[in-house]
Symmetry: C2
Subunit: 180 residues, 2 copies
C-alpha cells in the first residue's frame, strides 16, 4: 500500500505491518538522511474518509523512541516529501505507536504510518520544519478537507420544497457550511 | 526500470521508452509542480559503467521544447529529488533528446532519462537550482565516480614482485591515482 524513499537510496515498498492500521519502514544510517519521500503505491486506496499520518521515529541518547509528526498522505494527496535532517534534536510529540515498543538501534530510525479518520488527522499539527514545499502545507490540507466536507454535506442538501415534514430535524443552510 | 513521483501526486512507474536508451515521463499541469523524485525501481540495474542523466523538458512560449539537465541517477545513487519550480524561465542546455520531437502541449512538461556512460555524465553540469539536498550534489557524485575509478583501477594493481617481464607496459603507482 505504501512506499518510502530516502533521497539517494533505493526505494522501499514493503513496510513492516505492526498493527492492522500501522506500518513501519526502517531508515538505516538515518544521521545521513536529509529527505524522505512517503507515497501510496496506487494499488490500494485508503478506505472512504480515512488517511495516513506520517511519523518520524528516532532513538534519543538513552535509546528511547522519539516520535514526531511529519504530515499526512491521503487519497487526494498520495505522496509527500519531508525534510528530516533538522528534526534529530527536536522534541517528541503525541503519537499512536505508543504500546508497540519498536526495538531501537542507535543508527536506525523509522517512518511510521498510521491509518486514521480524516477528521482525526485534521486536528494534528505536524512539525513545521518537516514541510518541503508549499504544496505539502497543512493549510492546503485543511482547505482540501473543508472542501471535501462541503461536498459531503451538500450531497445531503435539500430545497425546502423537497423537505418531508419532520419537526425534529434541524437544517443548516449550505451557505453557512461554505463560509465556515 | 525507473519511477517518477511528483510531490503530492501518485507515483508513475511506466515511462514511455522513446529510444533504446531514453525514457520519458509526462508531467501534466507542470506549472503547479515544485518537486520531482526520480528513482530506479530496483528491478534492473544500469549496465556496468553506465548511469542515467535526468532532464526536465518544458514548452517555451512558442511551444518549442526546452531541456534542462537536473542531475543523475546511478546504481550507487539510485534516486534523487529535484526542485523544478525555479526552472520554468531558465535557459535550455545541450541534451541527447534532440531528434525526438516530443509533442509539446502547453501545460505538460516531461522528465527525460538518458542512459549513458558514467564518464560522459561526469562531464555534464546540471542546473544548480535543481539540487534539493547536499546529498544530491555534483561534487559528491564526482567524488564517488573517482572512488569507483580508484577501486576499478586498483583491482588491476600488481606489486613489482608479481610483474611479468614486459618492457612495453607502463605502470602507474596507485598513489598517483588516489591523489588525482
Amino acid at each position: 500500500m505504501f512506499g518510502c524513499l530516502v533521497a539517494g537510496r533505493l526505494v522501499q515498498a514493503a513496510p513492516q505491518q505492526v498493527a492492522e492500521d500501522k506500518f513501519v519502514f526502517d531508515l538505516p544510517d538515518y544521521e545521513n538522511i536529509n529527505h524522505v519521500v512517503v507515497f501510496m503505491l496506487g494499488t490500494i486506496p485508503f478506505p472512504e474518509g480515512m488517511g495516513g499520518s506520517v511519523y518520524f521515529c528516532y532513538p534519543d541518547q538513552s535509546g528511547m523512541a522519539v516520535w514526531q509528526l511529519l504530515g499526512f498522505v491521503t487519497n487526494e494527496k498520495p505522496s509527500a516529501i519531508f525534510k528530516i535532517s533538522g528534526l534529530k534534536s527536536g522534541k517528541g510529540s503525541q503519537h499512536p505507536f505508543g504500546a508497540m515498543n519498536l526495538p531501537q538501534t542507535p543508527t536506525v530510525a523509522q517512518i511510521g504510518i498510521s491509518v486514521e479518520l480524516l477528521e482525526s488527522l485534521a486536528q494534528q499539527t505536524p512539525v513545521a520544519s518537516a514541510a518541503v514545499s508549499s504544496v505539502d502545507s497543512f493549510t492546503e490540507f485543511t482547505q482540501k478537507m473543508l472542501d471535501n466536507f462541503y461536498n459531503f454535506a451538500s450531497s445531503f442538501a435539500v430545497t425546502q420544497a423537497q423537505m418531508t415534514p419532520n419537526p425534529s430535524e434541524a437544517f443548516i443552510p449550505a451557505s453557512v457550511v461554505l463560509k465556515w
